[in-house]
C-alpha cells in the first residue's frame, strides 16, 4: 500500500506529479488611492515558488495554517487556476501548456475531493447526476452511467438505492462519501483531497479516513492530502510537506518529520498540538508570538523571520529567502540556520 523508494531498484522512478517553481499570484484590484499615489496594483502571493514531487501510490500530506496557500497550491496543480509561473508535469506531460480540450482529457487522471460536504454538492442535482458528471464528460454512454454510479455508491459504502436522492437527504459523512464517489468515477490515478475530514465529527472522520485508505490500496491512488490537522496528516501520509506563507518550509517522510522536525515553524507547529493526556506532562512547548504576515507583498527574506525564535537568526534571514535544501536523504528544509547557510 505504501510506496517506498526501495521498491524501485536502481534509478528513482519518475514521479507521477512533478511541480517546479510553481507560483500563483492573484491581483488585488488597485483602488483610486493607489492610482493617486502612483502605485501599481498589488498582488497576493498565494503560492510563491513551490517544488514538489508526488509518487505513484503515495500519500503526500500538505499541512499548514489557514491562508498559507495550501488549497491554492492544490487547485493550481489541477489547473483550476492558471499558474502565474512554473511547471506542472503529470506522468511526464506538461500541464501548463495544454489547451482546455486537452486538459479535459487529462482530468480523467486527476480528481479532487472537497472540504465542505454541503457546498461541494449541487443541491439541485441528484446523486446520479453528481456522481455521473465526470463520466458524462468523458463520453461514457448514458445507459452505462447509471449502472456505474450504482457500483460507485456501493464502493464508498452507500446504498445504490439512494441514487435518485438529493444531497440534502444525506448526513455530512454520507455526503462526503458522495464527493469521494464523484472523484473516483473515472478511475483517476491522482486525487487531491482538500481537508476532506475537517467538517466532520470525530467518529465520522475516522470512517472517512479508513475509506480513503482502503480505496487507495484497492485502486492504487496517489493522494495529495491537505489538512490543517497534524494528527490526521500524520496518520494518512507517507511524506509530509509543511507550508508557510506560500512556500514549503520542510518536506520529510512522516516518521522523520515528527521524530526530528528541523524547521523552527514545524517544531512550533508540532509542539502546539494539544495532545490527549498531555495535562501535567512536561514537554517542550514552543509558543509562537503573533500571527503570520499577510501574503500581500510578503517579506523578501525568510517568510518565517517575524515569528522565528531561533537565536541564530540574523540579517541574512531577513534579506535572503532560504532554498529547500536536502539535509539528510529525503528530508528537505528551507532554513538558513538548519542548512548552515548563515
Amino acid at each position: 500500500m505504501r510506496w517506498t523508494p526501495m521498491a524501485a531498484a536502481g534509478a528513482p522512478p519518475e514521479p507521477l506529479v512533478q511541480v517546479r517553481g510553481l507560483k500563483q499570484y492573484f491581483p488585488l484590484g488597485s483602488t483610486w488611492v493607489d492610482r493617486l499615489l502612483g502605485r501599481g496594483s498589488r498582488w497576493v502571493h498565494a503560492v510563491d515558488g513551490v517544488d514538489l514531487d508526488i509518487h505513484h501510490r503515495e500519500t503526500l500530506g500538505l499541512v499548514g495554517e489557514s491562508g498559507c496557500g495550501k488549497s491554492t497550491l492544490a487547485r493550481t496543480i489541477l489547473r483550476l487556476y492558471e499558474p502565474t509561473a512554473g511547471s506542472i508535469k503529470f506522468a511526464g506531460r506538461e500541464l501548463t501548456t495544454l489547451s482546455q480540450m486537452e486538459m479535459r482529457q487529462m482530468r480523467r487522471e486527476m480528481q479532487m475531493i472537497f472540504q465542505d460536504p454541503f457546498a461541494s454538492l449541487n443541491p439541485r442535482r441528484t446523486v446520479e447526476q453528481i456522481v455521473g458528471l465526470p463520466l458524462l464528460i468523458q463520453g461514457v454512454p448514458r445507459a452505462d452511467i447509471r449502472r456505474r454510479v450504482a457500483e460507485l455508491l456501493e464502493k464508498v459504502g452507500l446504498s445504490p438505492s439512494h441514487i435518485d436522492r438529493y444531497p440534502h437527504q444525506f448526513s455530512g459523512g454520507q455526503r462526503q462519501r458522495i464527493g469521494i464517489a464523484r472523484a473516483l468515477a473515472v478511475n483517476p490515478r491522482f486525487v487531491v483531497a482538500d481537508e476532506p475530514v475537517s467538517a466532520l465529527d470525530v467518529s465520522i472522520q475516522a470512517q472517512i479516513l479508513r475509506l480513503l485508505q482502503d480505496l487507495q490500496a484497492e485502486m492504487g491512488l496517489a493522494y495529495l492530502f491537505i489538512s490543517h490537522d497534524l494528527a490526521v496528516i500524520s496518520y494518512v501520509s507517507d511524506r509530509i510537506a509543511v507550508m508557510y506563507l506560500g512556500r514549503i518550509v520542510e518536506l520529510a517522510p512522516a516518521e522523520t518529520l515528527f521524530a526530528e522536525p528541523l524547521h523552527p515553524y514545524t517544531r512550533a507547529l508540532i509542539s502546539a498540538v494539544p495532545r490527549v493526556g498531555s495535562r501535567g506532562q512536561v514537554r517542550e512547548r514552543i509558543l509562537l508570538s503573533g500571527s503570520p504576515p499577510t501574503p500581500i507583498d510578503p517579506p523578501k527574506g525568510c517568510r518565517f523571520y517575524s515569528r522565528c525564535f531561533l537565536k541564530e537568526k540574523n540579517e541574512t534571514c531577513r534579506l535572503v529567502a532560504p532554498d529547500l535544501k536536502e539535509v539528510t536523504p529525503g528530508h528537505r528544509v528551507a532554513c538558513h540556520a538548519v542548512a548552515g547557510t548563515l
Binding site: 479535459r104 482530468r107 479532487m112 461541494s120 442535482r125 450504482a150 473515472v186
Partner: protein
C-alpha cells in the same frame, strides 16, 4: 443507516419510463409541499379562476361586452336601488354590461402579462447568466445597458416607445418587454455571482465540465426558483402597466374591453356612478394579489431543501 433504508427502486431500470416516473414523483412531491401553504393555494385558485374566466368568456359572459344600449346607461349594481339581475354589476356610460366586460377584459390582461413575462424572462435570464458568469467587460456592458434602462421611469419609457411605434396590442407588448427583461437579468446576475463561488461549481470544473454545462446545468437550477418568483410577481406588475397604458388610451384599443381602460373611463363618473371604475379596479387588485400569493408559495415549494 444506509442498509436500513428500504430499496425504493432498482437502479438500472433504463429508458424513458424511469424518467417519467421520476418526473411524476417529483411533481407529487412539489404538490405536497405547495399544499401546506394555504394562502398560496388560495392565490393559485384565484389565478386559475381568472384564467378560466378569460378562456371561457364567450360562454359565461351574460352579454356582448361591446353591445351599447343608450336606454340602459348607468344602471347600478343589483343590490342598489334600480339595479337588476340582468346586469349584476351595473352598466357603464354606454349601457354596456360591466360584468361581461370584466370577464372579457381578463383576456387582454392575462395575455399581455403572460407574453411579456415569457419573452422578458427568457431574454433576462440569458443576459443575467452571461453577465454574472463571465463578468469583466461583458458584465460591465450589459449592466450599463440595464442602468440606462432603469434610469427611465417605466411608464415614461413605455409611453415614449408607444408614441414612436403607435398604439396597439403588439406594440404594447414590445414596449413592455423593452424594459421588463431588466428585472430578471438583475436578479439572475446577483444569484449567479453568489452561486458561481460555490464549491460545487468548482467541483464541476474539476471534473472537466465546460462553461455551458456549468451555466445551464449547475447554476441555472439553483437560480430558477427566484426566477419563477420574480416572474410571477412581475406578471402582476405588467398587468398593472397594461392597465395604465390602456387607461392612457395607448394599450388595448376600444371597443375591446380591458380592465385598465375601464378604470380610466370610470374615473370621469366616479361621483355619479362609482361602479364603473371600482369593479374593474377590484378585478385588477384580486388578480395581482392572487398572483403574488402564488409566487411566494411557488418559491417555498420549489426549494427541495425546505421540503423536509
Amino acid at each position: 443507516m444506509a442498509a436500513a433504508m428500504p430499496v425504493r427502486q432498482q437502479p438500472g431500470v433504463t429508458g424513458g419510463r424511469r424518467a417519467w416516473r421520476r418526473g411524476l414523483a417529483s411533481l407529487l412531491d412539489f404538490w405536497r409541499r405547495f399544499r401546506k401553504n394555504r394562502l398560496a393555494v388560495v392565490g393559485g385558485a384565484v389565478v386559475l379562476l381568472v384564467i378560466a374566466m378569460g378562456v371561457l368568456a364567450p360562454w359565461i359572459a351574460p352579454h356582448d361586452p361591446t353591445q351599447a344600449d343608450f336606454f340602459r346607461r348607468f344602471r347600478p349594481p343589483v343590490w342598489m336601488e334600480g339595479g337588476s339581475w340582468e346586469h349584476p354589476l351595473g352598466t357603464d356610460q354606454l349601457g354596456r354590461d360591466i360584468l361581461s366586460r370584466i370577464i372579457w377584459g381578463a383576456r387582454a390582461s392575462l395575455t399581455v402579462g403572460a407574453i411579456v413575462i415569457l419573452i422578458a424572462t427568457t431574454v433576462g435570464v440569458s443576459m443575467g447568466l452571461i453577465s454574472g458568469y463571465y463578468g469583466g467587460r461583458v458584465d460591465a456592458f450589459i449592466q450599463r445597458v440595464v442602468d440606462v434602462l432603469l434610469s427611465f421611469p417605466y411608464l415614461v419609457l413605455a409611453i415614449g416607445l408607444m408614441a414612436v411605434m403607435g398604439p396597439g396590442f403588439s406594440n404594447m407588448v414590445l414596449a413592455l418587454v423593452y424594459k421588463e427583461w431588466v428585472t430578471p437579468c438583475r436578479v439572475v446576475r446577483g444569484e449567479v455571482l453568489a452561486a458561481k463561488r460555490q464549491e460545487y461549481v468548482e467541483a464541476a470544473r474539476a471534473v472537466g465540465a465546460g462553461d455551458a454545462h456549468i451555466m445551464w446545468r449547475e447554476i441555472l437550477p439553483n437560480v430558477l426558483s427566484s426566477v419563477i418568483v420574480v416572474a410571477t410577481l412581475r406578471v402582476a406588475w405588467v398587468i398593472l402597466m397594461e392597465a395604465s397604458l390602456s387607461f392612457l388610451g395607448l394599450g388595448v384599443q376600444p371597443p375591446t374591453p380591458a380592465w385598465g381602460s375601464m378604470v380610466a373611463a370610470g374615473r370621469e363618473y366616479i361621483f355619479q356612478a362609482w361602479w364603473l371604475g371600482t369593479f374593474p379596479g377590484l378585478a385588477i387588485l384580486v388578480t395581482v394579489l392572487g398572483i403574488n400569493l402564488l409566487g411566494e408559495g411557488l418559491r417555498d415549494a420549489l426549494d427541495p431543501r425546505l421540503g423536509e
